[in-house]
């Protein structure tokens, strides 16, 4: 169980975080605070493992709460803000992640997953074992009208979310797969495919250009000229993958 506290001066904003946390397993919400002062006292008396912390609170701002705690008593922190400018400074305090309001459900789930990984590392528990390569998808089964076609994973340039389904882009053609991008992502070989956005997965050797954007996101250009957005959550994995890719 990961013990969590939620700090935001707006009741509706707190309940939005709590509602999303209810969908996450292994989370125990131990406290909520509506202002920086009471949050600081509470965090000091009963330190949680993770805090969701609003940056723009009156009087004592979220960042000040974190800064006022001794570094060894500082919990993992996911910062909430409407303004990207605040978020950049937040990283100086080793915040785990930041979420922009209005909150995106998938980004929220990713941030919680990161917190859970960081929490396990902090406790010294071993990470999840790597799945063996035989289990990865080699071909995609795609329905085209009444027949089923097999698309080789090696032909797929990139994969795009399409509502609850996904679209494969292979050889200039598009194929609809009746599976969500999240589920598909888990079954792809991480040595050749990398998630770059909540709505896109690209084959690593297809990336031709990468350009950073001012908000820490990036824009990729694939070999066929398709521009694909990459969000900051995935940039590290992407850069690592590009560095180790034999094509790069």
């Amino acid at each position: 169980m990961m013990r969590v506290a939620v700090i935001d001066d707006e009741p509706l904003a707190r309940s939005g975080v709590l509602a999303r946390l209810r969908a996450c397993p292994g989370i125990d919400v131990i406290a909520q605070y509506a202002d920086g002062g009471s949050a600081l006292r509470g965090l000091d008396a009963d330190p949680p493992d993770l805090v969701f912390l609003d940056i723009d609170m009156p009087i004592m701002r979220g960042i000040d709460v974190l800064a006022a705690l001794a570094p060894n008593r500082r919990p993992l922190a996911i910062l909430l803000t409407a303004h990207e400018q605040f978020a950049v400074r937040a990283f100086a305090l080793n915040a785990l992640d930041y979420l922009l309001k209005p909150i995106d459900d998938e980004r929220f789930a990713e941030a919680v997953a990161r917190a859970q990984t960081a929490h396990r590392v902090k406790q010294g528990a071993p990470g999840a074992p790597h799945p063996s390569p035989e289990l990865f998808l080699r071909t995609f089964m795609v329905r085209l009208g009444s027949r089923t076609v097999l698309v080789d994973a090696g032909d797929v340039a990139w994969i795009e979310a399409d509502g609850d389904y996904t679209t494969l882009h292979a050889g200039g053609k598009q194929y609809l797969v009746r599976e969500s991008l999240q589920r598909l992502a888990r079954r792809l070989d991480p040595a050749s495919f990398v998630r770059v956005h909540r709505s896109a997965i690209v084959r690593i050797d297809q990336v031709a250009e990468l350009r950073a954007l001012p908000n820490r996101d990036a824009l990729l250009c694939l070999r066929d000229g398709t521009p694909v957005r990459a969000s900051r959550t995935y940039i590290e994995t992407l850069s690592a993958a590009l560095g180790h890719s034999p094509a790069a």
């Binding site: 303004h83 990207e84 922009l100 309001k101 209005p102 909150i103 995106d104 459900d105 998938e106 980004r107 399409d162 509502g163 598009q174 709505s199 031709a208 250009e209 350009r211 954007l213 001012p214 908000n215 996101d217 824009l219 250009c221 066929d224 000229g225 398709t226 521009p227 957005r229």
Partner: protein, 365 residues
Amino acid sequence: MTTTAARPGQNGAILARLPFHTPLLAAIPITLCMVVTALPYAGNSTAGAFRILYLCAFLAWLAPLTWFQRMLWRRGLGWKATLPILLLTTYLLSLIDSVLGQTLAIRLGTAPGYQWSAVFRGLDGCWLPMIGYCASHAVVASFAALGREQVRVAEAQAGARDAELHALRYQLQPHFLFNTLNAISSLVADHRSQDARRMIAQLGDFLRATLDGVNGHEHALADELALTQGYLEIEKARLGARLAVRMKVDPGLLDAPVPFLILQPLVENAIRHGIALRETRGTLELVITREAGRLHIGIANDLAANAIGADPLGARIGIANVGARLERLYGDDHAFSASRSADGRFQVAIALPLAASAPQHRMAA
């Protein structure tokens, strides 16, 4: 400059804004002239002493005279009033010089006593340098004021152009904003709360990208493409499978500067007045290429089968808005066309200068 001529009262005040030490520098050439004219008397100690006295008196009067001239300007007096006042003042100062000269003559023993009739003689050596100084002070101050005025007019023009461009930019948003809010409201009414939350997050991303600080009227193509894709994500959620998007960008163009929000209104146009009206799937095509040193942007979309006849008003406003912004930013150095093609699609083509010429249009602030 017409603006300064129209406000003679303020004209003087503008002249007085010149830093105090600048006109004193203008006195250096006059001082040098006085020294040069004194050189022939170097052997004659009496005449030399008079020359040195007049030179010292001139230098002593400089600061008070400068202050006095600036005070006249600050009072808002025009040339007609300033000129006689300064002539009279410098004449009186010259008379004081002359009295000092007689005092020196009495001390040196060359004159028995004060001769008041002689006070008005030989004033040229004192009066002319002071007149010359006041004249150069006025000329220097006028030039400085003229320069400041030119900078001010240029800044005002740039400011007006910026304001116009901003107004054109903000004109674009309400359309899309209300449509998206309407879509969100429909999702809520349908109890599709997860889809509603996703669309609200996407709208938040898009608004952040369009409202947050872009410091000029241009940004990199990569930024514009990311922004356009944020917008397309919302439209895809609204239209589902009816919207197909094909994008292609030539290599090496991601850093090219393009006008902020140039693609979004055109893409919105293509979707709202083209693809959204179709019963079947429609394709939006965005192709960005480099041809002969220019950046070419092509946007094409399928139209509804019955879309023959006049363009809807909204479509025309969007197109006219983009045309006006390109005109403000690039003048004649661009091409822009929007028309229905032979294959029944709507096509917009833009050609912009690539690289070097663009950054000069960036706003100074």
